[in-house]
């Protein structure tokens, strides 16, 4: 037997204790890693939503339900539509402080191709656009032609492939980056294409959800304010000067989402802290109780010539092996249980969720394993000290 193998032999000799320690370490690492990934994804999703909207102020038709509809479109991807007179956009453009302005037209398809599912179609003006093109992942040459569309990252349609909407073959010429918002499942087209879709639906006798043309109405207006403009004053000016509309600051639209995110993040943080404290207590207790049982074993090793340092190292190595195995198992199990199911978590929480990049997930996993190893070592440190400072003669004589 090689002395180097002693920690492994000890671990195998006490399967129940070793399994218990591995399970505790796995629970700790699963809680910390899973919590970290979810918190980071929520934060990234909120940041992405802020950037994705790309406007300081959003103008919608008057009525609380319209704001709720827009939130549903943005956060849950529930298709919706609402309209206001197009003249409102022109009136808004003349207000001082408005730098850029882009109107969008919302349409909901009855179904799409193979799948009986509604798709949010957003008609936008390419010239004034400030919210769609900055997110193009796969850029296309030139501008959007008739029956050409840009698809969100959440749609299976690839660039170059077609998507049939109301019997019209629409060719995808661009794909947007994933944002973790409801807009990932939307389709973007020019108003000319949208007009064609409305006409096609009428010809096919399909009950299209909107019969109002983008020539007369718009659904929302995205505004970039001029530098130095007070956004609250500009919002108030739009609300008082333009009839039948409600202007909301993008920031205020996201306050409720940010608040919910804060509550969830705090809840997860408390849960992680509780698991951590429990894990430290359980691990310390297990090592402490084991230390009492192993006094004779260590006394014999001491007599055989093991130094105090070697005995400490033996206890710490055992702790590192069990904590390391548990931590790795926890990270792997959490990865299998959380990462593939991010879409369903996003739908159930109704919060924007954008997974961190693979490199960030890997480094978070590594950090968690190191943290659990440190926790395991700390829990074993007292036992290592006690076992390396035993009174060998007394224990061998009296047996305790």
């Amino acid at each position: 037997m090689k002395l180097r193998e002693l920690p492994l032999i000890d671990i195998r000799r006490r399967p129940l204790r070793s399994t218990a320690l591995i399970v505790v370490a796995a629970i700790l690492s699963a809680a910390v890693f899973g919590g970290q990934v979810v918190i980071r994804s929520l934060q990234r999703g909120l940041d992405s939503l802020k950037q994705r909207l790309g406007a300081d102020i959003i103008v919608l038709p008057e009525g609380a339900e319209n704001k709720v509809d827009l939130e549903n479109i943005l956060l849950q991807g529930t298709p919706g539509y609402f309209y206001m007179d197009k003249s409102a956009a022109e009136e808004i453009a003349s207000i001082d402080g408005v730098d850029k302005l882009s109107a969008q037209y919302f349409l909901v398809s009855a179904n799409a191709e193979c799948c009986t599912v509604q798709v949010q179609i957003i008609g936008f003006d390419e010239q004034s656009d400030i919210t769609v093109k900055p997110w193009l992942k796969e850029a296309y040459e030139g501008s959007l032609g008739k029956n050409e569309i840009i698809v969100g990252a959440g749609l299976a349609t690839k660039v170059g492939h077609s998507l049939t909407l109301y019997g019209v073959e629409c060719r995808a010429v661009g794909k947007l980056e994933r944002t973790g918002t409801g807009l990932d499942t939307a389709v973007y087209a020019t108003n000319e294409t949208v007009r064609g879709l409305i006409k096609a639906s009428a010809e096919q006798g399909i009950a299209v959800l909107s019969r109002q043309s983008p020539e007369d109405v718009v659904s929302s207006v995205y505004i970039k304010a001029a530098e130095g403009t007070d956004l609250d004053e500009l919002t108030a000016a739009i609300n008082t000067e333009v009839e039948g509309v409600q202007a909301v600051r993008t920031k205020s639209m996201m306050t409720e989402t940010a608040d919910r995110l804060g509550v969830i993040s705090k809840g997860i943080a408390v849960f992680i802290a509780a698991v951590w404290v429990l894990a430290v207590i359980i691990m310390s207790a297990v090592f402490y109780l084991t230390a009492n049982e192993r006094k004779r074993e260590f006394a014999v090793l001491r007599v055989m010539g093991f130094s105090r340092k070697k005995l400490s190292r033996l206890v710490l190595t055992e702790a590192l092996i069990t904590a390391g195995a548990g931590a790795a198992a926890g990270v792997i199990l959490t990865s299998a249980a959380v990462l593939p199911f991010v879409n369903i978590i996003e739908q159930k929480t109704a919060l924007p969720l954008l997974m961190p990049k693979t490199s960030a997930i890997v480094s978070a996993g590594a950090a968690v394993i190191i943290t659990v190893l440190a926790t395991g070592s700390a829990a074993a440190a007292l036992s290592a000290y006690r076992l390396s400072h035993i009174d060998t003669g007394k224990i061998l004589r009296e047996g305790c």
Binding site: V119, G154, L155, A336, P340, F341, N343
Partner: protein, 134 residues
């Protein structure tokens, strides 16, 4: 029991895959009397899962180590093919938010990956042991 631990794990995972594919984590349902693309992916997973259950059962019942290793390799290859069925071999529905993308595919991928890992280890150990027997 101990010598069949891999076979038992394989049969449990394969049964979970087979039964789950049309119950707990089934793909999108029927709409207006029409089945969507993912329904056929679900059927393919159920069928392949059933074949894996039978392979794993034979793996437990037969005693020859070489045959056991061969069956384990069969389970491994079938598990890998199951991973590839949803969205690679057979297209799923068009949106990430749909059930076939958010529940069916991840569940099939996770279970089939664990099954592939178990049967992979079983194959390697089985091949080594059958080699020693000779």
């Amino acid at each position: 029991m101990k010598k069949n631990i891999f076979g038992i794990a394989e049969i449990v995972l394969a049964a979970l895959l087979t039964v789950g594919s049309f119950t707990v984590f089934k793909a999108c349902g029927e709409h207006d009397g029409k089945y969507m693309a993912c329904h056929w992916a679900q059927n393919a997973v159920t069928l392949t899962g059933t074949v894996i259950v039978l392979l794993a059962l034979l793996r437990i019942l037969l005693s020859d180590r070489g045959v056991k290793a061969g069956l384990a390799i069969g389970v491994l290859l079938s598990a890998i093919s199951v991973i590839l069925i949803p969205d690679t071999v057979i297209s799923l529905c068009m949106m990430d938010t749909m059930r076939c993308h958010s529940i069916f595919r991840p569940a099939v991928t996770v279970i089939a990956s664990v099954l592939a890992a178990v049967s992979g280890a079983d194959s390697i150990i089985g091949l080594i042991r059958s080699g020693k027997d000779k």
